[in-house]
């Protein structure tokens, strides 16, 4: 029967066995990076062991970082609140950047003269090194939580309006005609057509911004060394105190935070776009 009708058998197969195939393929896809992880650990171990005794503190072996830098009670009780603090700062800044970025893009999309006037500056502002602006922020807002938040927003903001606007602008002309024929309002065209069309670009911008927000949070904390200590302040503190186990622990946590942010948006994006957009079909 399967032979008689290839179309049916393919449809049946795609329902019943593809998920299984997919998991095993996913599992197989995990093998190289996991293997590579152990290679890195090995190299780390080797370099650490090869360092002369007086310089050994510069790179403690992995198990030492894990045990003394992360798992020891006084280590994690200090680093975990800092981790959460930084995560909160990055997330808060990211949400502000997302809302502001979408609003800016939507307004520019609505009023094209605003886009013509403002878009060059949007691109130019992206080139301003945020750390150069940080002292100014400090003068205006003090060494506050808000000041750190501003740094996060400034670093994470720009990819969002730029990409979202690009997405809004590349709506299919035929679809635009279809909506115009129904004499729809601008708002309807935006909500039912342009916004969903731009979702792939919007999610791309969120992914980029999420990674940047974590960088922004840590940079902000390193610059404004005040208030409740986050990962950025801990990094500098451990460097000062020659607590290299904890320093590497904090570094690892910082990276994990960035990866987590990025992964959340990659996952959400592929969930939302799965049914219709090509980019979501390719396993990553």
């Amino acid at each position: 029967m399967q032979l008689a009708n290839p179309l049916v058998s393919r449809a049946v197969r795609s329902r019943s066995t593809v998920p299984v195939v997919r998991t095993s393929r996913r599992r197989r896809a995990l093998v190289p990076p996991v293997a590579f992880f152990f290679v890195i650990l090995g190299v780390w171990e080797l370099i650490s062991a090869s360092l002369a005794g007086s310089r050994k503190f510069l790179l403690p072996p992995p198990q030492s970082v894990l045990i003394h830098g992360l798992l020891a009670r006084d280590a994690y009780s200090q680093i975990l609140p800092s981790f959460l603090r930084t995560a909160g700062l990055a997330l808060g800044g990211l949400i502000v950047a997302m809302l502001a970025g979408m609003l800016v893009a939507a307004v520019m999309y609505r009023f094209s003269w605003l886009e013509r006037a403002g878009f060059p500056y949007l691109v130019a502002l992206q080139a301003v090194p945020v750390l150069a602006v940080a002292p100014l922020i400090a003068v205006i807002l003090g060494y506050s939580y808000v000041a750190k938040g501003i740094v996060v927003v400034l670093i994470a903001f720009f990819p969002i309006p730029a990409n979202f606007l690009l997405g809004l602008r590349s709506v299919d002309a035929g679809l635009e005609d279809l909506f115009r024929l129904q004499r729809t309002s601008w708002w309807t065209r935006f909500w039912r057509l342009a916004f969903p069309s731009a979702l792939p670009q919007l999610f791309t911008s969120f992914r980029i911004a999420a990674g940047l927000a974590v960088i922004g949070a840590i940079v902000g904390e390193e610059f404004f060394q005040a208030g409740v200590p986050g990962l950025g302040m801990r990094l500098l503190q451990y460097l000062d105190q020659v607590e290299y186990n904890r320093l590497y622990g904090a570094l690892i946590l910082s990276s994990l935070l960035g990866i987590a942010f990025y992964s959340i948006f990659t996952w959400t994006s592929s969930r939302v776009l799965r049914s219709w957009h090509e980019s979501a079909q390719v396993g990553r």
């Binding site: 679809l175 024929l181 039912r192 979702l199």
Partner: protein, 262 residues
């Protein structure tokens, strides 16, 4: 897939041709902002129950004429009379929303017209049935073939009960077999709904097979250079394509078309 049934819907069929045409072009000129004259002095009436096909060389302004008829662009001179509230329009491309499934895509126009949910569900259901896509309601466009996408596009326009139906080379990108099948399906929809159809195509055979009248346009600026009445009644069967009469009409149109280009 079976061709949809030929059941006549009594509500929409009109056996007597109305005095006022459903679509009327009166001396329409269309000049683009850059000065290019797209079409010149087009006067054309399409009555309900009439199927007019336009053939012409590429770039002769056939599509512009349809955009004019739909109000998407205004004529530079002359006027177009048409009831825009019941205007169906099928584009070269199926123009489906990729994030919506078949059912949701077919419901789109009714939704934009704020027709209540149950009512538009029902409208979409019967349109989907009419184009033979029952069972594919939950599929997304990405998973459909080109021919199926065009069917969805057709069904979407059918939900607004078109009195005038514009077709802009809708089957141009399809393979021959799919195209012929969709021609037959379109004809059976036409026979049950009796709208006024204006169909732009590159294919003389398609034009003669579908239309009651074939209009030949010259190259730019597009003018109407010939008009042929197709002597076949509906329903038409595919065999009509191989009759001597069909070849004669197609041959005449073909020679007119060659003259129009020269």
């Amino acid at each position: 897939m079976q061709a949809p049934s030929l059941a006549l819907s009594t509500a929409t069929s009109q056996d007597t041709a109305p005095v006022v045409p459903a679509l009327r072009f009166s001396q329409v000129d269309l000049t683009y902002p850059d000065g290019t004259v797209a079409v010149r002095d087009i006067s054309l009436d399409v009555a309900s129950g009439e199927f007019v096909a336009i053939v012409g060389p590429s770039g002769c302004g056939k599509s512009s004429l349809l955009r004019c008829a739909s109000g998407l662009i205004a004529p530079t001179r002359g006027s177009v009379q048409v009831d825009l509230s019941h205007l169906g329009y099928v584009f070269q491309d199926s123009t489906l929303l990729p994030w919506r499934n078949v059912q949701q895509n077919v419901e789109l126009l009714a939704q934009l017209r704020r027709i209540p949910k149950e009512e538009r569900n029902e409208l979409a259901r019967s349109a989907i049935e009419l184009v033979g896509l029952t069972g594919f309601e939950r599929h997304h466009p990405r998973r459909l073939s080109g021919g199926m996408r065009m069917r969805v596009s057709l069904a979407r326009s059918l939900t607004i009960d078109p009195r005038v139906f514009l077709f802009d080379e809708p089957f141009g990108a399809l393979d021959e077999i799919t195209r012929e099948r969709l021609n037959d399906e379109l004809l059976s929809v036409f026979q049950s709904k009796r709208f006024a159809a204006l169909f732009v195509t590159h294919s003389i055979y398609e034009a003669v097979y579908l239309a009651t009248r074939v209009v030949v346009m010259s190259s730019r600026p597009g003018r109407i250079v010939a008009e042929h009445v197709v002597p076949f009644s509906y329903p038409r069967t595919p065999e009509v394509r191989f009759s001597a009469e069909f070849s004669r009409v197609a041959g005449q149109i073909s020679s007119d078309l060659r003259e129009a280009i020269a």
